[in-house]
Amino acid sequence: MMYDHILVRYAELALKGKNRKEFERKLHENIKRALKEFPNVKVQRSFGRIFVELHGTDEEAVSERLQEVFGIYSFSPSLKIELDQEKINNAALWAVKDALPDETGTFKVSVKRVNKGYPHRSQQLNYEIGSHVLRNTKNITVNVHNPDVEVRVEIREEAAYILCKTIKGSGGLPVGTAGKVMLMLSGGIDSPVAGYLALKRGVRLEAIHFHSPPFTNERARQKVEDLARVLTRYGGSMKLHIVPFTEAQKAIHQHVPDKYEMTVMRRFMLRIAEQVAVKNQALAIVNGESLGQVASQTLDSMYTINEVTNFPILRPLITTDKLDVIEIARKIGTYDLSILPYEDCCTIFLPPETKTKPKRDKTNLYEQDLDIDFYVKDAVERVETIHISAEKKLDEEIQDLF
């Protein structure tokens, strides 16, 4: 026996009133996209529920992918069984054994008889199915209050449906229901996690990366492309904007005292990010800052850096401890990439000392010598935009070799 479909339950969508339809449509679309690698799988939407029809596809592989789709509260693999009592009994037994592979634990049966024409009543059915399971297993017992496994049997007109396992989804909202944001993607541990958490709230994501050749090398850039590709697992294809930052960074290095270099550099990045965001119709900037984590992320620093923009800046990690960020990074598969030891533009000119409490007035004073508009405009104009596709593609020239 094999599960033949999966019933998907929505997170939060029930709260969304008039938007609900739109949210459901998006979720349906996102699930379809996430399961594209399984050619036999069909995703159906009906009566406010989404069904994934497996058609022989391995349920566990599909479950693994579903767990990565935002907007799903939980889901349950289920069996469609002919309306025949013996067949229903056996299917329930199989489902219990599948959910409790050691054959130890507790269960309960709850029958919902929508089809009133079915000969037995719900209570009778509970008893009948429950005893069949008990008779055919050794260490499984009934617990109606707090069972390890609840066998839900729905008797409908056309068939009986049996659900047993409930697997928790990622929660959140379907990607694409909340507008677009611009993620500042550095290549470190934090920013990909910030992007992931932003996606969880339903936004569409584009990313911006500051590249300073020859001070940062091609591998650092490759790493960022690879990180963006991991994020496409959760948010679909995305644009990555590579900003040529060498000229601005050189100028800053020459004109600004060491202690304020980081602060001014950050302000430049923010100015550029804002313009790239506007150009691409993004409504907010997302970054991986966590309060007090490093010198540039003290409250004083944020106050001074933030002065240059009134664009919304979302900081999903603002109160998260580093260890918790690392845990998420591992879970979503960005950690191993993030720790590859390539320098990014934040570290190359890192002065021996950075001001942890930079002042706005001083910063503005130091920036006076710089032609801010020129460097910002120049960088924005020379942005290179690459399309990161959700499907893991090999480099074209390499593909032929394998």
């Binding site: 090398n217 490759q222 090999l394 070799l401």
Partner: protein, 379 residues
Amino acid sequence: MIYFDNSATTKPYKEAIDTYTKVAIDYFGNPSSLHPLGKAAERLLTQGREVTAKLLHVSPNEILFTSGGTEGNNLAIKGTANLHKKRGKHLITSNIEHASTLETFHQLEKEGFKVTYIEADNNGRITKDQVASALTEETILVSLIHVNNEVGSIQPIYEIGQLLSRYPKLLFHVDHVQGVGKVPLQFHEAKIDLCSMSAHKFHGLKGSGILFVREAVRLTPLLTGGSQERGVRAGTENVPGAAAMVKALRLVLERSKELSKINKINKFIESECKKIPGVVINSPKERAPHILNLSVVGVKPEVMVQALGEKGIYVSTKSACSSKQTDPSKVLLAMGCDEETAASAIRLSFTYDNTMEEAEKFVEEFNSIVKMLKKVVEK
């Protein structure tokens, strides 16, 4: 030419050689070099690892590129034994392993490890229960060959893996060198921790191999130096060899749809040769589709190989790695063959390019050679 010695080595696919050549010329940079040429080579290696992982249904960081089956076996066994010797010094293997496993265990015995050699039955098989009863508190590694290289017997790896997964303190290594593309094995499903493979057994080039190392499994390196291959195997990577191996692996797995064809050839030769007086089939009935071991009792196998070779038919005496020793096959003796039969065994091994016509031709030539030699031997 009829090449029936595919367990010794296979003819490299032309596509694999093309890949080798192109990579050796265009991607000659050292993957550890920082310049663009180095980056290109590194990229190639990374993507090759990803493709390999996908083909084998594992994750890329579980793929270690090695120099071949012998290195894979040595690294898995010694790397585990040396790392975990404080945990226990007992190791388990079988008496029908390839020389690169057997000799490694002999060496470890000299270093103070205790090794249990599980004895195979007449069909060249060991059972889960035998493994279970060999386990002790001290056991840190079980290493078994999946498909035996001389007779083609297949071990119940899935069952044994399930059993061993209940003992988290020991590791399970499988020598899968003969199985790739011929006898499928899903490493994760079979609860395998370490698994060795070799490129030239599946139409790649010599000098390349794969060691699957399950995530979270650590090894003491045999070769120390740079941090290549996650620090487990130092030394500049053999980029063209690895790339060619990936190509060969993809092609051989695509062709594994034609497995029944190899099986047919194997069964045909078996049934035809059985009819010849003096010929004994040594392979068990249940075996890999590409290996057939038989003896012409009383005729030295070297003579048989030589005579067939003159007709352009290539087969071998037992395993290529121990064929220069003239004593009877250890594997066949372990399976309970008598000395004379074990001393006259030849092995045929097939691949997807072999045809039924070749099989028929072989039977014809074999028949006449056996008759001729028997006459000489028996006078």
